[in-house]
Subunit: 229 residues, 2 copies
């Protein structure tokens, strides 16, 4: 089985549990709210917001600012009113997302043999704060912000190979999102699917397609590390 | 005494001993050569090469590629001929620079209280490989490459504040180069000078100006960490 030189990780959902963390912070700051629905509503605004940037309708805008635009839109939908200070604090909940239980051990094992980097649409400041908060042991933090192109634009995937001066096939993307992996694969990268069945919470199941089209499929990052030994 | 939120580090000379590491690799691959003179000649080509990019004469070019251009020019001056493979290997010596003896301990102490990032003209791939090789515990690796502006262009210094969404005065640059610190200071950043008397080897002394214009002056990174406690 081929192995890569560089392993790039999608972050939201793949490495950290955005749903659980946002639910918890939302329920803390807005008692009585349905935190799970709130987390999913916030996240649902994410792709449309990035699509505006990708299409050129909106100039380059950091995820922090996109998150804030979405937050300002959904708060009235949940009939909640927060102070400006509370909104700023809640918006930064995305900097404080908790890793999945296997994340630190899996990344640490993979780091011993490979160079591990993020490839996230999250901005660099968000990813750095998250890594410090959660002790994620990245060799490098790469973001769409570096390439000024959000995934799934090819520039983001090919940019990782360029940064490390390797061929695209020497980079592997790890993600729990098939569309992300499909885009990486069409750029010539290797791909690994990681199951995160509770990405959207316990109530919402994730439909999964034929995963044999990816180079690796693993239950979690520890299993992936074992496969890549 | 004011303290910053984010500490950004110049890397070549401040964090790692480029002179000693390049001298050693040069003498290993080219027995009989004056490795110290070779290291200084290679480094001397660095600022003029970046000036070409800064002036717009040369489009954006990574330090790896600038290093290679300089290497190709100085090898004949030292009457040495290397194979293409040897040249590629030697050029990557800049990815393998050794930290100063106080570096790891100093950074680790600073990291406990502050967010620590690089702000180097070295490219991201170089800095990531160096950090992995030397176990440098960065929270984030930032490079001129992210801002597409080499220091001392203001975009590089102000870029760090923008990435972390803080005011320039909340960022402190640590460097052993007064011109770098002067440029950071004129952008509103805090500054700390670190003495590295042997940056250019034992034979070559470094002239030092009035350092009281900087916020902090320290013998090494451990002393700086003590001052910032």
């Amino acid at each position: 089985m081929r192995t890569p030189k560089i392993i790039a990780f999608d972050v939201f959902g793949t490495v950290v549990d955005w749903h659980g963390s946002i639910q918890q912070e939302a329920e803390h700051i807005m008692p009585g709210i349905d935190g799970s629905a709130f987390a999913n509503a916030w996240r649902a605004g994410y792709k449309p917001a990035m699509a505006e940037v990708r299409s050129g309708n909106l100039g380059w805008t950091k995820i922090d600012d996109l998150h804030r635009r979405i937050l300002d839109r959904i708060l009235p939908e949940f009939h909640v009113s927060l102070s400006e200070e509370q909104k700023q604090h809640l918006n930064l909940a995305w900097h404080r997302l908790a890793p999945w239980p296997d994340t630190i051990a899996g990344l640490t094992q993979l780091k011993a043999k490979y160079t591990i980097t993020t490839l996230s649409n999250g901005n660099l400041g968000l990813l750095a704060n998250m890594a410090k908060h959660a002790a994620l042991p990245w060799d490098l933090i790469l973001s769409a912000e570096v390439f000024q192109h959000y995934k799934p634009d090819p520039e983001a995937y090919l940019g990782v190979a360029d940064i490390f001066d390797v061929a695209p096939v020497e980079v592997m993307l790890v993600a729990t999102h098939e569309d992300d992996l499909d885009a990486a694969q069409s750029c010539g990268l290797m791909t690994a699917y990681v199951h995160r069945p509770y990405e959207y919470g316990m109530q919402k199941t994730k439909a999964v397609g034929d995963l044999t089209r990816f180079d690796y499929q693993a239950r979690d990052l520890i299993e992936l590390a074992t496969q890549l030994k």
